[in-house]
């Protein structure tokens, strides 16, 4: 590209940007498209800007990956891979390896069975039930509507959508215990324990919350899942829920 092509005036750049970001009016768009058909230099400039904008987005996303990846504690993840996943993998191996896999799986199951009483993962699976959520109601109030709309997603297991909708509401009410509680339990159901702990901690900071026992119960489970047994026990102590007491007693055994 020569110097002339590189040189885009601010006015020209903003025009191209409006075109690429779809913020032109219909008339402007039609007229710009017409010009593009005959002006090859402008067409090249548009393509150059298109590539530059795409590069900014893609490189920014790549740079986010490392932050995302840090949240995956590989050590924990290797433990949560379920037995059913193991079984699914068997079909990839040749027939003669199947027998060996089964023997290995039986062996592993035996080891798990023998050490079952103190295995945090097993205890977590035994005691973790997704909070059933609140009954959804019809409401004319916009923020209520948005809250219950997200609750419908939550109940259908669409935790990511539910979380993003509730987080939008949380911006205006960062201390709201109901929002913090459901964002927390949705994160836990979505296997993101660290995020769950962050939001559930916000719930217990509110001394008037009606979610106190539930928040401590799920905090206990979240810490159990991350193998932090001491904090799991500590949080469960503050919950009067029967399940919390039962889990605590198994942890103390």
């Amino acid at each position: 590209m020569n110097a002339e092509k590189q040189n885009i005036t601010q006015e020209e750049f903003e025009l191209i940007e409006r075109y690429l970001l779809n913020t032109m009016s219909e008339t402007e768009f039609i007229s710009f498209n017409e010009t593009l058909k005959t002006d090859s230099l402008l067409k090249e400039k548009v393509e150059n800007c298109r590539i530059t904008l795409q590069a900014i987005e893609e490189q920014s996303l790549i740079e986010k990956f490392d932050t995302f990846h840090q949240e995956i504690t590989l050590e924990n993840n290797s433990k949560i891979i379920s037995l059913s996943d193991n079984v699914k993998q068997v079909k990839w191996y040749k027939k003669y390896t199947v027998a060996a896999s089964i023997i290995l799986l039986l062996g592993l199951s035996g080891i798990w069975y023998l050490s079952s009483t103190q295995n945090p993962k097993q205890l977590y699976n035994k005691y973790f039930n997704v909070d059933p959520g609140l009954p959804t109601i019809m409401s004319d109030n916009t923020s209520h509507f948005k809250f219950y709309d997200a609750m419908v997603n939550y109940k259908q297991g669409e935790y990511i959508i539910a979380i993003s909708k509730w987080e939008a509401l949380l911006k205006n009410k960062p201390q709201n215990d109901t929002l913090n509680y459901f964002i927390g339990v949705a994160h836990l159901a979505n296997k993101n324990e660290d995020a769950a702990i962050k939001f559930l901690d916000n719930v217990i900071l509110n001394s008037n919350t009606t979610f106190k026992n539930e928040a401590y119960h799920y905090l206990g489970l979240a810490y159990l899942k991350t193998n932090n047994i001491e904090l799991a026990k500590k949080n469960l102590t503050f919950s009067t829920i029967d399940n919390s007491k039962a889990l605590l007693s198994e942890l103390n055994d």
Binding site: I51, E58, F65, L74, I161, S164, N190
Partner: protein, 198 residues
């Protein structure tokens, strides 16, 4: 009682998810990333790969899925269709890697043949080679762009923050942000151009 239109409800939800991905909603992207990684890592580890391989293949696949959703080449019906699509792309990428000349030297072909590649209606990369080359240069240029410019361009084009928000954050007026943004774009385009020459 009002009849519930499940179909339109589903369409609406998938549209919300697509909109969040197109807007680079960090929460949504992060959750998708975290939710799907484990399965891919398991696949790679069980098929002659390392954790590093898994991470590279997964990030490559994630970028391809994001790009295809942005370009409307893949229109997910719901969250699980994204998960399935991401898994398939990662699996195919891992298959391609296993079949690559470099890798074949080290393992028996029989081991590879048992992993079947799934057909995708849309291939992750349909853009031509020249476009990819230019894109990579521009990405390298953006990676090495000086910090004040990098943050400003990222805030506007990736985080999709408004001019007003950025102006407030930088404590300058919107017109100055516009000027700065233009100058940063010029700088970035020039940097990419120079990388092209080297």
């Amino acid at each position: 009682m009002q009849k519930v239109d499940f179909k339109s409800n589903l369409t609406q939800k998938s549209a919300q998810l697509v909109a969040a991905i197109k807007a680079n909603d960090e929460m949504v992207l992060k959750s998708l990333y975290i939710t799907n990684y484990q399965k891919i890592e398991f696949l790679v580890l069980k098929n002659n790969g390392t954790k590093e391989h898994a991470k590279d293949i997964y990030q490559d696949a994630f970028l391809a899925v994001w790009r295809n959703i942005k370009d409307n080449k893949f229109e997910p019906k719901n969250e699980s269709s994204i998960n399935g699509y991401l898994y398939t792309i990662a699996k195919n990428k891992w298959m391609d890697f296993l079949r690559s000349k470099n890798y074949k030297k080290t393992i028996l072909n029989n081991d590879i043949a048992t992993l079947k590649s799934d057909n995708l209606h849309i291939h992750p990369s349909t853009q031509d080679h020249e476009f990819e080359l230019k894109l990579n240069q521009a990405m390298k240029a953006f990676e090495s762009l000086g910090e004040p410019c990098k943050s400003l361009l990222k805030s506007f084009y990736f985080d999709k923050k408004s001019m007003k928000t950025i102006a407030n954050e930088l404590q300058i007026d919107a017109a100055s942000v516009k000027n700065k943004k233009y100058r940063c774009m010029q700088k970035l385009r020039l940097l990419a151009q120079n990388l092209n020459k080297t």
